[in-house]
Each structure stands twice: as C-alpha cells, then as structure tokens.
C-alpha cells in the first residue's frame, strides 16, 4: 500500500512536470547550474551584484537591447539594486527621452524617474535592420523567457528543490558559450558559434570582454563576473518583486502550517466520538 502511494505521488508529480520537459535546446549541453543569491525559499538579490549588472547592461547590452517595461524609478524600489531616489533620478537624467512640447513639436528632453528605459532603436524593424535581420530581444522579461530542457527525473526533483533558475543559468552559459565552431561546421554569414544556443548559430557577436566595464567595488573585471552580474540584473528586471514574493511566501507557509495543524487536531477531536 505504501509503495503504491509513493508510486501515485511520483506519477502525479511527473504529470505536473511533464510540461516543463517540453522546452528543448536540441544538441546543446546542459548549462551548468550557478549559485544565485536569489535562489531558494530565502533568496534575495545581491544589491552590489545588481548595481554591477546594471552597469554592464548600461555600458554594453543597452546599445542593442531595449528594456522597455522597466522604469528608472524601479532602480530605487525595495528589493532591487538599492539606488536612492536621487541616484535613480540622476541615472534617468543621463538619458534622452522623445516627447512633445506644449506646442506639439517633437523634442528630446532629459529622462525622469517615471520614464521607462528608452529603446536603442526607433522601432523593431530598425532594430532588426541594424542587427542582421532579427531584432535583439527586449530585456524586460528575458530571464523568464529562456530555459532549457530539464528532462526526467529532474523536473520532478525541481518541485522539491525549488529550482527555478533555468533562465539565468542558460543566459549565463550563453554569454560564456562562444567557441570556435567544430571542424566542418558551416557557419552562415554573420553567425557566431555558441555552444548553448539552439542550433549553435547566434547573430549576437561575443558581447563581453575582460576589463570592458570598470567596477568600482573591487569585483573581478572578467567575462565570467560580467556575465553573472548582468544575468542577475536581468532576473531582477524580469521579476522585480521576487524578494517580496519569497518573504511573504515564508510568512504564508508558516501561517498555513500552523492552521493545518490546528485543523488536524480539531478534526481528530470532532471525529473521536464516532471512530
């Protein structure tokens, strides 16, 4: 009977996870799992890492990738990179925003905290034309929009370990995954070989190089560090309330556990008369 129960539990879990098994990057190695500060039930973003990641985004990625759903004010919100409101306003002021003046004339003004990050290209078509035919994806939800196939039995185990970092692991691996193509690999024009990209041909040239971005907190100025920092930043951009969610989640779990226990004993007491 107990084995039967375990079997049922396992198959149920398997049926739940089957959906997760659907994503695949054929022929690509599994991205190595990184240690992320935001993983697990007590996960929190590392403010320093988010600030460094933002610097990498601003100085490197933003020249091609938009981040239209994120506003400057978000930089100063709780659970994020921890900028002060003045700092967020200062960042905003570095950007030029297209707007209309009182007479309806098109102008460019300095950014304000309420503005969203302006896109590097006027529109998707312009972005595609400037980048070999495909517009570079927007960063706002990208860390949640990328994954890799976990496969059995991992997708079942993930439910218990709360592994939710496929996206960041994949992006981090991708940023470090540029290699010389294997012998006999036919590379289309403008393509770059990347081990982790589905099909291995990626339009984006290797974006990072050692020493490219200056860190002022003493963190190593290496590709590996840049990749990790910018990936963490992307996760924050995609899920700005992650810290709040996990914090409230813990409170909810404690409350529900206690209530479940109380109701269990209530039930036992009520039924004691008829058993």
């Amino acid at each position: 009977m107990t084995t039967q129960r375990i079997l049922i539990a396992l198959t149920l879990a398997a049926s739940l996870g089957a959906a997760g098994a659907a994503h695949a990057a054929e022929g690509a190695p599994v991205p190595p799992a990184q240690k992320w500060s935001f993983a697990g039930p007590f996960g929190k973003f590392d403010q320093g890492q988010l600030q460094r990641g933002f610097k990498v985004y601003k100085e490197v990625c933003a020249s091609c990738h938009s981040m239209s759903l994120v506003s400057f004010r978000n930089l100063a919100e709780a659970g994020g990179p921890g900028f002060s409101e003045a700092q967020a306003a200062a960042v905003a002021a570095e950007y030029k925003i297209k707007d209309l003046d009182d007479k309806g004339e098109a102008i460019e003004r300095n950014g304000r905290p309420a503005d969203a990050f302006p896109a590097p290209f006027a529109n998707d078509r312009a972005a595609a034309a400037a980048n070999g035919g495909v517009a570079p994806p927007d960063f706002s939800t990208l860390a949640k929009a990328r994954t890799y196939e976990r496969g059995f039995p991992w997708f079942v185990i993930d439910i218990f370990t709360q592994y939710q970092e496929q996206g960041p692991d994949y992006i981090n691996a991708l940023l470090l995954g540029y290699k010389d193509p294997p012998k006999g690999f036919v590379m289309p024009e403008g393509g770059n070989y990347n081990e982790y990209f589905p099909g291995h041909v990626i339009a984006m040239p290797p974006p990072l190089s050692d020493g490219q971005v200056t860190y002022d907190d003493g963190a190593p100025q290496t590709i590996a560090q840049y990749a990790k920092d910018v990936t963490a930043f992307m996760m924050w951009a995609a899920e700005p309330h992650l810290v709040q969610r996990k914090r409230i989640g813990f409170q909810v779990m404690i409350f529900l556990l206690v209530l479940t226990g109380l109701l269990y004993f209530t039930k036992k007491k009520v039924w004691s008369a008829v058993h």
Partner: protein
Amino acid sequence: MHGNSTYQPQSKIGQWFEKRLPIGGLIHSSFVAYPTPRNLNYWWTFGGILSFMLGVQIITGIVLAMHYTPHVDLAFKSVETIMRDVNYGWLLRYLHSNGASMFFIAVYIHIYRGMYYGSYKEPREVLWILGVIIYLLMMATGFLGYTLPWGQMSFWGATVITNFFSAIPGVGETVVTWLWGGYAVGNPTLNRFYSLHYLLPFVIAGVVILHVWALHVSGQNNPAGIEPKSERDTVPFTPYATAKDSFMMVAFCLLFAWFVFYMPNYLGHADNYIVANPAVTPAHIVPEWYYLPFYAILRAVPDKLLGVLAMFGSIAILAFLPWLDTSKVKSARYRPLYKQFFWLFFAVCIGLGWLGAKPAEGIYVVLSRILTIYYFAHFIVVLPLLGIFEKTRPLPNSISESVLGSKA
C-alpha cells in the same frame, strides 16, 4: 434538497423571513444536517477543495480584469503592468495562473476517486455527467484564459486549438474564420476569448450548483460503495465533514502556496514571456500540462479529422462510463481485477501526458498510438467485460459494519 429540515430560526425576524423564503432551511439541510457516510476517506474532500478553487479563480480573476487590456498591442504589456506596478498584482496574477493548475490537480483527483470507487453508477449517473460537463467547461475556460497574456504560447496555442475545427469536412475553414473573427488569430479573437473567459466560470458555477443538487438527492457514494441503510451509517455534515474538509482545504493551500510563492512559473512556459509574434513559430507548441494526455491522443492519429474526433471522443466517452462499466459492484475495494485495471489506466493517462509534452516523432508516436488504443480499450473492452467475468469480493452488510467490523 435532501434531508427534510427541521430547521427553526431562533429569532422572530428569522422565523418571519423563513416563512417567506426558506433559505435558512435550505442551507441547514444541505450543509449542516445533511447525512454523509461515516466511512468517507480524504479523497472525498476534493469536492470542497474544488468549490474553494472556483471561488479563488473568480475573485482573483475579477480583480485582474480591472487591470487587464484585451488588445493585441496592449495585452502583454498590461499583464506585465499588473506584475510590476499594481499593488500585489504579481500575487493576484500568480494566484490565478497557478490556481488554474491547482484546480485541475484537484479535479483530476476528484475524477479518479469517482472512477476508483464507482461513484458514477446508479443512482449517480446524472451527477457524474454533470461533472463531465463541468470538466469540459473548465478545459474551455483554461484554454481561453491561457491566450489572454498574449505571449508566444498564448498565440500559437490558440492557433493550434482553433485549427482543430478546420478538420470539419466542408465547412471547417468557414467555422474557423467565424471563430477567429478574421482570417487569422487576431484582435477580434482576443476580444471574444476574453469575453468568454469571463463568462464561462459563472456557467461552471451554475453547473456546480446542479452537481451539488444532484449529489444531495442521491447522497454521497463512499469507499465501501454500498448505500447507507440506517442512521448508524451516516454522520451529519456539520461538524464532521466540515472539520475534515477544512483541514484538507488548508493543507491543499500549502501546495498551492508552494507554487505561487516559490515556483510560480514552473507550471507555465518560458515562451509565454515573449510577446506574441505571428511571424515566429516556437520550436515546440505545447499546451498546458492539464491538456497533455488529450494532445497526445490528437497527435497519435495520423488523420486530422479522426485525430480531433479521437481527442474529443476521449473526453466524451467519460459521459458513457455509467453504462460501459457493467459491474454491479461499485467500489474497487471489492473488485480485485478492476483495481489492477484502474491503476493501469491511471498509468496510461500519465504516460499519455508525458508523450503530449514530447515532440511528435519516432518512438513517441508509436508509444502514443499504443497508449491511445489502450485508453479507449479500457472503456470499450475492459470495463464491459470485467463486469461479466470478474469475481468480486463479498460486500459488507452495511457501512457501519465495514468501519467497525461485523460486531457492530
């Protein structure tokens, strides 16, 4: 409903009102005095859990609708605005999207429980069929809801599912154009899907009332699969069932909260965080997990029309279950062979679910075909024959005997 109520309101006002609208008596007879078999196990708590989940979905859905914009250019952004800028919008949205999955987990347990204990048999055929209708409505509602965030999987899922109807001979294309409100999935499609997604939960609520009504006429089945014979076989709904249901409901919320707070995107698709793009087809178009077995059946059949018929048939056949199962004995407890076939069928459904998530190629297609054939054989061959050939175990004389032993 069942059980003549002797309910008498204490207060004068209550008595005055009760004479004119006996709603107090209705509630009292349905949820207080209502006799429930004393041997119900925890699998019987999922009906209550399902009502709770319907409530959760309706309440979170109504608030989400206050912030959502059903337009192809704005839908994705409005959902992201809910996630980012609406106070606790992320919570509402994750409750709603994971709530749909929890709703289906509960309904699958509820359905399998009914199958295991033969709850569909006389006198509960209508109760069962109403349940099948609710399940169908849930599938429709879930599908419509999944298109609303207007991500890649929303768009392409909607395209694939609506294209089923193009398999109808002669008028297929016309029907699909009519469903879309255009020549492709577009803004009119999103608008009507939103409208219907808001409507159907209330239709579900209506059928749930009928379902509960039918339940209270025939009374609950129970693990022994025999009808209560005396008052010794039953206990009043309150406090017994209410205490048990509340405990399980809160325990179920633990599972729900685990997903909502710790892995809210586990049950969804990464592709749905990419805004819908009619020009780019995702590598794999996969429906939500709760449709996967049926998706596998659809793809197992080489012909499109037959595939669609097989898929709808696999759900429709459930409605005929009361007559396909010819056994006089309800509960699998007393049906040694049926018990084995039940678990085999369960495993086949899980297998189909797994195959539904795999690409339709190679060994997966072969396996899908074998399991699809078995799925139907279970209903058309196994169940009718089992009733004739199976040697069942002797039934207890009464429910109280099955609980307390023959001394009672």
